[in-house]
Amino acid sequence: MTDNPQDKAKLVDEITEVIASEGMIDRAKVTPDATIESLDLKSVDIVMILTALEEKFNVYIPMDGSLQEAKDVKSLIEAIAEHITKEREKS
């Protein structure tokens, strides 16, 4: 479904919203090239973000694995989107 650019954009937008609200960051600061460090996202914030994403998208995303490779918002969102897309394809 993420082959559809509109769906993809919607998904990215929804994930960005969750990162901003759960990470308690100004939505305007959550830009694709912002680094995770610059947003001061700690492991506890990531847990809260992943919990909110589970409730919203019905998908379990572990802390470890692909998420740990993400250095900026763009790659973090991509890693999360990949989990969600895979889960949707399964169901």
């Binding site: 919990t51 995303i61 572990p62 802390m63 470890d64 694995g65 740990q68």
Partner: protein, 428 residues
């Protein structure tokens, strides 16, 4: 057993405690384990050595609505075959595991029920949580089913119940308590038992750890932390994505070398070093400095240099952070050459992360590795991660020469505990 009563006479006579007579060397005279591999330290060792994962489909009494449906659970067994009918109602599974493991350890140590009775035997059994199964079922009954709690709920859930139940079983009157240091509980209990004997506070100690928390509420709580893998636990490997929860107990009988030899018992090995420290930094993130300091303290306590350690049983949880931090800590203390070369395996993909029992199960495996001269493998290993530049003994056990071995435990909250065991020479 007259020789074992010496300390009691000393205590009764009001003699001051001090360093024990003799060399002050402490040995492991017997060990026992209950794990996902079943009942018995040998069963656990066999699974670890053969890389036979005991992580299976999750089994719960109440249907589980979580997403992680795998764990390393103790297989079903008949408690009444191991524990008397009068005692059993007081035993949450975490106490049952401790009793079964302790009976095995006592038998291997050549000790009967009353042989170490008295004030000179300490009992220290660690647990991360205590009677979690009783808590979980009790709350379900109370809140969901509106049924009164089980009458024996309180004595069953107390974290020190495993220790006090063993004390009653073998009539041990010495210092008896639980250590609750999350995933370092068992290792700290074993280490403190060693120190108490060395410092003359006890002549012998029943030590170890026990945990039984693979139940719905606890599984869901661990899921919430996002550290559980949905598929395979792969410590130190590329593509690792977390741990599998485990459970069980491991119990060890500690005494002085002289005491064991005097009664004609051949100990399993010498418990030669213990180091413990705290990161004092973060509730969940590990720390290189803290882990390194515990490793260095254990070596100093053993009077050993890093080159004397021929095998390390790692904490190796398969979380991204632990495995990087632990690799860095080992290399920081052992040096670049030996740190990258010494076999370091994590057996957690086999028996799961047993939390407060973890360090005990892993010490039991470490002792078997020492005695059989085999480094058990780190299974589910896909490919080396350059950020974990250690030799993880990927997938296949290795025959090596081991004179001394180390077991690491690093807990949430930043508590670190490291133990070192050494083979006894024929002339000891």
């Amino acid at each position: 057993m007259a020789d074992l009563r010496e300390g009691e006479a000393r205590a009764a006579a009001g003699a001051p405690s001090g360093r024990p007579a003799g060399s002050g060397r402490v040995v492991v005279s017997g060990m026992g384990a209950v794990s996902a591999a079943g009942i018995g330290a040998q069963e656990l060792w066999r699974a670890a050595r053969d890389g036979a994962s005991q992580v299976r489909e999750l089994r719960t009494e109440i249907p589980y609505d979580g997403r992680i449906k795998i764990a390393a659970q103790v297989p079903l067994y008949e408690p009444s075959a191991h524990i008397e009918a009068a005692v059993l109602p007081f035993c949450d599974p975490f106490t049952q595991y401790a009793v079964i493991a302790a009976d095995e350890a006592m038998a291997q140590a050549g000790l009967g029920r009353d042989d170490i009775a008295g004030p000179r035997t300490a009992v220290i059994i660690g647990t991360g949580i205590g009677g979690m199964t009783t808590v979980d079922r009790g709350l379900y009954r109370y809140y969901v089913q509106s049924i009164r709690p089980e009458p024996l709920t309180v004595p069953r859930i107390i974290p020190s119940t495993a220790a006090t139940t063993l004390g009653m079983r073998y009539s041990c009157l010495g210092p008896t308590f639980a250590i609750g240091s999350a995933c370092a509980s068992a290792s700290q209990s074993i280490g403190l038992g060693l120190q108490m004997i060395r410092f003359g506070l006890a002549d012998r100690a029943i030590v170890g750890g026990s945990e039984a928390c693979v139940v719905n509420g606890c599984m869901r709580a661990w899921e919430a932390l996002r550290v559980l893998t949905p598929d395979f636990c792969r410590p130190f490997s590329k593509g690792r994505n977390g741990m599998s929860l485990g459970e069980g107990a491991a119990v060890f009988i500690l005494e002085t070398l002289e005491s064991a030899l005097a009664r004609g018992h051949a100990p399993l090995c010498e418990l030669v070093g213990y180091g413990t420290s705290s990161d004092a930094k973060d509730p969940v993130r590990p720390d290189v400095a803290g882990a390194s300091s515990a490793i260095a303290l254990a070596l100093a306590d053993a009077g050993m240099s890093p080159g004397d350690i021929h095998y390390v049983n790692a904490h190796g949880t398969a979380t991204h952070a632990n495995d990087m931090t632990e690799s860095e800590a080992i290399i920081a203390v052992f040096g670049d050459e030996h740190g990258r070369a010494v076999p370091v395996s994590s057996t957690k993909p086999v028996h799961g992360h047993a939390l407060g029992a973890g360090g005990g199960l892993e010490l039991s495996i470490t002792i078997s590795a020492l005695r059989e001269q085999i480094a058990p493998p780190t299974i589910n290993f896909l490919e080396a991660d350059p950020r974990c530049p250690i030799d993880a003994v990927p997938n296949v056990a290795r025959k090596i020469s081991i004179k001394a071995a180390m077991s690491n435990s690093f807990a949430f909250g930043g508590i670190n505990a490291v133990l070192i065991v050494r083979a006894l020479d024929h002339d000891d």
